[in-house]
Symmetry: D3
Subunit: 339 residues, 6 copies
C-alpha cells in the first residue's frame, strides 16, 4: 500500500491558488514537451481526477523525463497552485510513479457530480411503478443482478457525446424515468409500463458495449454488434430465463414491443437503429431520450467552455450548431473559467 | 332561414343503423358515379360533418343529377341508415340544395372532440405561469386580442399531418404547455418563461398561414413566406407595439432568444427552419413539439384506420413507417370500423 | 375431396390458344368489373398458378357474381383459351367455389422453376465444406431441424424485390454458396468457413419475418424486429443450445464475427443494417449477396416484361434504372410475351 | 496623434525587395514562435494591411517578446524587405505598440480593390431604374439612411466564402444589379422592378448579421436569427414606416413577393432558406446571386493561391472542387506569387 | 395524297366556339370510353396539333369504334366546336383514318411558338462572336453539317422538363447565347469564346439522345450513354477530324476545357455530371443554363395551368415547389383557360 | 553512373536491427526538425523504397542541413539500424546527394509485391477467353500497343484508396478477370465476353488520369475529364481505328454496351458515374470491382497498421468503418509492427 494513501485527498476542483501540494495522486491526462525562450525544456501538461482538470507545468524538464511519464497514467505530484492570467495552474516540482495496484485508475476518470447510490435507488423506486407482472419480472432480472448493478452504476452513457462520465448511464436513465413519470399521464393511450421498462432497458447494452475501467472505449463486441443489438440479446436471454424458471411462456407480443422500443430508439437508420419507431411507446422513448441527451450536451458544453470572451461554445457536431451561453432572462453570462 | 334549421341535428357519429333521416344537412365530402350490375347508374358518396363521415349511396342516379351536386358543398339529405358488411351506410332518398348563408360550412369540417373554450381557458391559465414581465406582456398582446383569439381557437395545427381539424392548434398548444409545466422543473438550467412563451407563440403563424373556413388550405402568404417567418414577424410587431406603448425598449436579448425558438423549432433545415436550435429552450420546444405531434399522428392514424383485418395502419410518410395498432399490454386490438 | 382432384392438372404456362379447359383450379389474382360497348357488364381478371398468369374475361357478369368471387382465392374454372392481339387470353364460361381444404393455396403462389429438394441437397453439400467444428455444429442445428428445413425450402427471399417466390430463399442461398466456393479461393486472407456459415445464416430470419402460406407478407415480428435481428437472435439461441448440450462455451469471437456478418450484410444503415461491414468476411457476404440479388432482379424484370415493342423494362426502384433487355452479343431480343 | 502618422504610408502590396522600412503600421495577422538550428528563438509572422499580406521574421526573439505582441493587433514595424526563395519576406528589426486610438484597425482589414463610393453611386444609379412607386419608395428608405449607407459600404458580403472584405457587400450588390440590367430584358415575363429591389435588399441583413470593425465575425443576432430573417424584418419595418408616413397601405402582394425573394434566395433549405423560389423573380435573383458569388470564389481562390508549381488551387468546399488556374485560351498561367 | 390536303388548315389554337369543322387532321392525344347517364357509351378524348389541344367528345360510341381509334395517331375529324362551362369543346361527328404517309406526325407535336429558322440564324450570328480560330473551326463542323442542322432545329431541349417541344433545343441555345453575350462582358476573367462554344455544344448530344419524330423519347444510346457523354464523344470526333484535315494538333488544353464545360454543366453528380465545374467558364455555363431552364419551367407551368381558381400551378418536381402565378406588380392574374 | 550503383542493394524490408549500411539509396519520404532534451537539433525522418519504409533519425542536425535535404527526393544514406521499442530505426550518420539521372525515382515508389510481368501474362491469358471477334479485336488494340502495356503495368489502381502502388492496376485487373472467370459460369444469361472486355477496359483511363513516375497524382486531364470518360474516349477511338482498318462498322450495340459498363462501373452518381448499371454485365462488373477493391482496402489497412495494442485499424472513409484485425478462426492476431 502506498504511503500516499495516508495523505488527505485534495480533489482538483477544490485546489486554491497559492496552495502547496505535498503528495497527491492525479491522472496525467495529457503532456507536451516545449522549449522556453532561453532554450530550456519544460513540460506542459493537464492533470485530472474525477472532479475536474487543470493545466500544469514542469520546468527544467528533459526528453528522458518526458518519455518516462506515461500519458493517461497515475502519478504522485508535488508542487503548488499558481494564478496565471486569471486561471489556476499547477507548477510541478516533482513526480513519482504510483505503486501498481495502490490506486484505482477509475477513481480518476470524470464522474457524475451526483451520488450514484441515490440515483440507483431512485431508478429502482421509479421502476416499481410498473404494474405489468412479466415486465416487472423482467426488469427484476437486471435490478437483482449484483454484477449488472455494479456495472450499470459505473457505466457512462456514451464515450463522448453526453453523460460521458462514470455514473452517466444511471444518471441519464434516472432522468428519463422521471420524464416518463410526468409525461405518460398526459398520453393515456400510451402504456407507461412499456415506456418505463423500455427506458430502463434501452441502454443497458452500453454496460457491455463500453469499457470504462481506466478510460472510455468500445469493446470489440461493442463495435461489431453495437449496444442496441447487445441490449436486445440480453433482454432475450432474460425472457428465456424467466420462461425456464416459471414454466410459462413470456408474453410474445410484450417481448416484441419491448425489443422494438430498444431497436428503434435512435429514431433514424443512420444512427444505427435497424427499425424506426412504429408504436406510441417507441416514439415516446425516442423523443424523451433525445430531449435529455441534447439538454445534457448543452449543459456540458457550457460547463466545459473555456473562453469567457465569447457568448458561444465551440461547434457541437451532434447539434450541428454552437451553443449560445448567456441566460437572457437573468442576464447572467457564464463567468471566467480556468483552461 | 332554412326550414332545416328547425330540425333536430343528428350528428353523423350518432346515426344508428335502421334510423330514418328526414332532413339533415351534411357536407358531401366526395362523390363518384358508378354503374350497377343491371346497367343503371348510382352515386357512391361520402357524407361528413364535424363528428365524422359515412359512406352513402344514391340509387337510380343520372349524369345530370351527379353534375348538379357540388363536391365539398352542403346539402339537405333524406334517407336511411343501413348496415352493410358490418358498417353503417347511408341510403340517400333525396337531396336538395341548401339556401345560401343558412349554414356555416365550417360547422361541417372535422373538429376537435374537445371543448375549445375549455382548451383556451387552460392555455391562458398555463400562460399565467410566466413570471418575466415583458414576456407576459408580449403574450398578453395576443391573448387579449379578440380577433386573434377567435382565429386561434378555430385554426387547425396543420393541413393534414396532425391535429388537422378545427381547434387543433389550441389543442396542440394546450398539450405542449402541459408538457412544459411538468418537464421544465426537471431541467433547472432551462428558463420556463421562455419555453412557455415559445410554445404559445411558435405556431401562431398558422392562424395566418392557413385558411380554414370551408376547407383547410394554405394562404398565398402562407406558401410564399411560411408560418415560421410569419410568426416571427408577428412577434416582432407586437414587441414594437409594446415599446411604443411603454416608451421602454423591449429587452433585445429576450426578443432574440424567443425569435430563435420560433425559427428553429422544426429542428432541421429541410423542414423549413432557417436556424437550428442553439439554446436549451429551443431544444426543449423542438422535442416537446415533435413528441406531441408524432403521438397525435399515431392516435389519428389508428382512429382513421378502416381495415380491422390488419394489425397495421397504412404507411405514414412523417414517421417513415406504418403504425402497429394493438395494445400489447391490454391485448386489446382496434375493433371493426366503418369504411 | 373435390372431384377436381381427379382432373389432369393444366399449368397455366402450358395452356395453348384454342384449348378447352373443363375443370381447372387457379388463383384469381385480380378482378375488375367493366362495361361493354352495349352496356352489359363483364369481369376482367387475372388467373394465376405457380407457373405463371394470364388475362381472363367473363362475359355477361353481374355485380352480385363479381362480389361473390374472392380476390386472391382459388376457384374452379371452365372455359377456353383464345388468342387476343398475339397473346393468350382465358374466356371464362363458369366458375365455382373450391371446397375448403381440398387445395393448398400455396400451390398456386409463384414458385421457383427449380426443384427445391435438389437445391436443398446442394446447399447441404456446399455447407459440408465448413471445417471449423463449432461453426459446422451451429449450421447443423438448423440443417437438422425438420421444421426449419420445411420452412426454409418454402420461404421466398423477399416479398417483391428478388427471388420473391416459393423456394426463392433456398435458391438464393444456393447461388451464394456456389459463389463463395469459387470466389473464396481467390482471397486467401478470408475465412471460407465464416463466409459459408454467414451466407447460410444471413437470411434465415426471413423464415420468420415473412408469411408465405397463401400470400407473401410480413409478420408483425418481421415488421417490428426485422429479419436481420431475428436472425441474430436465432443464431444466438442455437449457440446457447450448443453450449448447454456440450458443456463447452461456444467460441465467443467466432460467434461475434458471425453475428457481425449478419448484422452488416445490407451494407448500409438506410437498408436496415445497424452495423457496417468491418471484416473481410462481412464485406464478401455483402457484395456476393448484392451481386446475386441484383442479377436476379434483372432476370426477373426481363422475364416479367410484357412490352415487346420496347427494349427496356419498366423502372426498377432498387436499381434506380430501367433494364436494357437485348442481348447485344447474340443480337437476340426478348420475344413477344402475353400480358 | 502618433508620430507614425507623419510617415509616408507604404502599402504592403507596394513594398519592394531590398527596401528599408523605418516606421510603418501593419496588422499582425498571425504569429508563431520557432527555434533556429542553433537553438535560438525567432518569430515567424504574417503582417497585413488592406492591400495584402507578407511573411515576416523577427530573429533573436524571446517568449516574453512573443507574448507581448497581440495577434490581430496593430504595431509599428521597422525592418527591411528581403527576397527569399523568389518571394518577398519582411525582416523585423523592431516593433513598438501603437498608441490606442491613433489608427483605425479597420483600415488594415482586407478591402475591395475598387472605390466604394463609386460602387455605391453605381448602385444608386441602377436602382433608379425601378419604376414601381412603392418599391422605389421602399428602396429609398435604405438609400437615404446615412447610417445604413455607411454600414452597407463597409460590410463584407460574407465572413469567408466570397467578397469577404470591406466593401464586399456593395461590390457584390453592384455586380448583381449590373447583371439584372442586362438579363431582365431577355425575360419579359419577369418584373425588373422586383428583381432590382430584391437584389438590393436580399443581403442587407448582413449589415447586421456581421461585425466587421476590427475583424469579421457573426453577431449574436446574426447567429440566432440569421441575415435572411433579419433582412425580412428590416424590410417589414420599413414598409410599416412608409404606411405610417403615407397613410396608405403598402401593396401587400408586392411586399409578400419581395419578402419571398429574400427568404428563398439561397435556393435550398440546407443553406438556410426557409422557402424555395416559387416565382420567376425569386429564381432569377437566386441564380444571378450564385453566378456572381461562385465566379468571385474562383477569382479569389486563384488570386490567393501561393503555389506556382501547381495548375490547381486548393480544395474549395463551396465548389466541392479545386479550381483549374490556367487560361487555356491565352495560354497564360498564374505567375509566381509570394507566400 | 389525301384529299384532306386541299382543305384549309384550322390550327386548334384558332378554333372558335360555334365553328363547324368539315375535314381537319389532328392527333388523338388521349381517349377514354365512358358511359352516359342513360347507359349509352361515349368517347372522351383530347385532340392536339402543334398549336395546342382541346377536349373532345364523340357520342353514341361503341367498344369497337373505340378500339379502332389509335391513341397517339392522326385522324380526319368532322364536327363542331361548342362552349362548355366556359371552355371550348370539340363534338366529333365522324372520324376516318389518315392515309399512311400523307401527313407527317411530327407536324402535330408540340412545337416552339417561334420561327426555328430565325432562331437558328440568330444562333449562327451569335456564334460568329467567337474569335479563337480552332474553337470557331470546331463550331463550324456542326454549323455546316446539314444533317446536324436539320436535327438540331427539330430537337426538343428535354423530354418533359423544359423546352420540351419541337425546336426547343435551338430556342434554349439561342437564349443561352444571348445571355452569354450580355453577361460575359461583366466578367473579364472569363473567356467568352469558351462560354459561347460551350453553350452551343453542351446540349448537342440531345440530338442523338432523344427521338422526336412522332413522339419524344430516349434512344437506347441516350439511356445507356447519356447526352453528356454523347456530346463529349461528338466533340472529340470533330476535333480529330479537324486534326486530320489540317494536319495540326487541336490545342489540347482548349479541347479539355471545352469537354470539361460539357461534362460538368449539370453541376451535380446526382444530375448525371461526372465532373463538377472547376473553371469560371464551366460555372458560368452551368448557372446560365439553369437560369434559362428554370424560367422556362415557370413560364410553361403557368401557360399549361388549367385551374383559374387557384393562384398556384401544380407541384413541379424540378423546382420542389408550386409556382405562384399572379404578376403582383401589374396585378394581372392568369385568366380562365380551357381544360 | 554513380558509384552507389556498384553497391549491393539492401531493400528496406530486409534491413536487420544491428546491421550497418555503408551506401544505400532510399527516398526521403518525410522529414521533421526537432529539438533534443539538451537543446540540440535532430532530424526525424522516414526513409522508403519500393519494399517499405522505416523511421530514421539524424542527430546533431542544423537548420541548414535540414533545408538542404529535399523531401520526396533520393539520397545516399550511411548509418546503422537500431532496435527502438521493438521496432527498427535507422540512425543516419551521413547523407549525400544522388547524381541526377543515376537512379529512377520510380524504383523507390511503393510497388506491388507481385511480379508485374507474370500478372500481365495472366491478364492476357484470361482475355484470350473472349470469343466475340470484334471485342477480342478491340482488346487487342490495347494489348498489342507497347506504350500502353508499359504504362498499364506501372499504373497504380488509385492514388490512395486501394492498390495504390506501382503495378496496382494490372494486379487489380488480374484479380477481376480471375473473379469473372469463375463467377460468369454461374450466371448463364450474362455475356462473359462483355464482362471480360469491360473489366479489362473499365480502368484503363487511369493510365492517363494519373501521373505515377516520381509520385502519384492526377493529371490536369484526369481532374477535368476523369478516368471514366477518358476511358470511354479511348475505347471510342480504338473502335473507330478498327473500322478504318477493317472497312467494317464496329457493332454499334456492342460498343454501346461496353461503354455503358465503363460509364456505370462506379455504381453511384456521387462516385462520378454518369450512368447507373442497367444491364446484367454492368451490374456484375460493378460488384466484382467493389468486392476486390474493398477486400484490398481491408488487407492494406491491416498491413499498414502500426498499433499492435489495438484490434482495430484506424477509420477508413471508404468503408465508413475501422477494420477488425484478428482472424477469429485461427485465433491469430496481427503481430507487432514497426512504426
Amino acid at each position: 500500500m502506498s504511503s500516499g494513501q495516508g495523505v488527505r485527498r485534495r480533489p482538483i476542483a477544490q485546489l486554491q491558488a497559492g496552495e502547496r501540494v505535498e503528495d497527491q495522486v492525479y491522472r496525467l491526462a495529457a503532456k507536451d514537451l516545449r522549449t522556453t525562450s532561453n532554450g530550456s525544456l519544460y513540460i506542459h501538461a493537464v492533470i485530472a481526477d474525477a472532479t475536474g482538470q487543470m493545466t500544469a507545468r514542469l520546468w527544467q524538464a528533459s526528453q528522458e523525463l518526458y518519455d518516462s511519464i506515461p500519458e493517461g497514467g497515475l502519478l504522485h505530484f508535488r508542487g503548488r497552485v499558481e494564478n496565471y492570467k486569471g486561471s489556476r495552474q499547477f507548477i510541478i516540482d516533482a513526480v513519482r510513479q504510483v505503486e501498481p495496484g495502490s490506486y484505482d485508475p477509475a477513481d480518476f476518470l470524470p464522474a457524475t457530480s451526483q451520488d450514484v447510490d441515490t440515483l440507483w435507488e431512485e431508478v429502482k423506486e421509479l421502476l416499481r411503478g410498473i404494474r405489468h407482472r412479466e415486465l416487472l419480472n423482467l426488469v427484476g432480472k437486471f435490478v437483482n443482478d449484483p454484477q449488472f448493478v455494479a456495472d450499470f452504476k459505473r457505466a457512462p452513457a456514451a464515450v463522448q457525446l453526453h453523460h460521458a462520465y462514470v455514473g452517466g448511464l444511471v444518471e441519464h436513465t434516472r432522468n428519463l424515468l422521471r420524464l416518463a413519470r410526468v409525461v405518460c399521464p398526459l398520453y393515456p393511450q400510451i402504456s407507461p409500463d412499456l415506456v418505463l421498462a423500455g427506458i430502463f432497458l434501452h441502454d443497458v447494452g452500453k454496460v457491455r458495449e463500453l469499457r470504462y475501467q481506466t478510460n472510455f472505449e468500445y469493446t470489440n463486441e461493442g463495435q461489431l454488434i453495437g449496444h442496441i443489438v447487445q441490449c436486445v440479446l440480453w433482454v432475450h436471454d432474460k425472457c428465456r430465463q424467466i420462461e425456464q424458471e416459471s414454466g410459462q411462456p413470456f408474453p410474445a407480443e410484450v417481448e416484441m414491443a419491448l425489443k422494438h422500443i430498444i431497436l428503434s430508439h435512435h429514431g433514424k437508420y443512420e444512427f444505427g437503429s435497424p427499425r424506426l419507431p412504429a408504436t406510441g411507446e417507441a416514439i415516446m422513448v425516442h423523443y424523451l431520450d433525445n430531449l435529455d441527451a441534447k439538454l445534457a450536451m448543452v449543459r456540458e458544453a457550457i460547463a466545459a467552455d473555456t473562453d469567457p470572451a465569447s457568448d458561444w461554445t465551440g461547434y457541437l457536431k451532434a447539434l450541428e450548431s454552437r451553443v449560445f451561453k448567456p441566460n437572457v432572462i437573468s442576464g447572467r453570462r457564464p463567468g471566467p473559467q480556468t483552461d
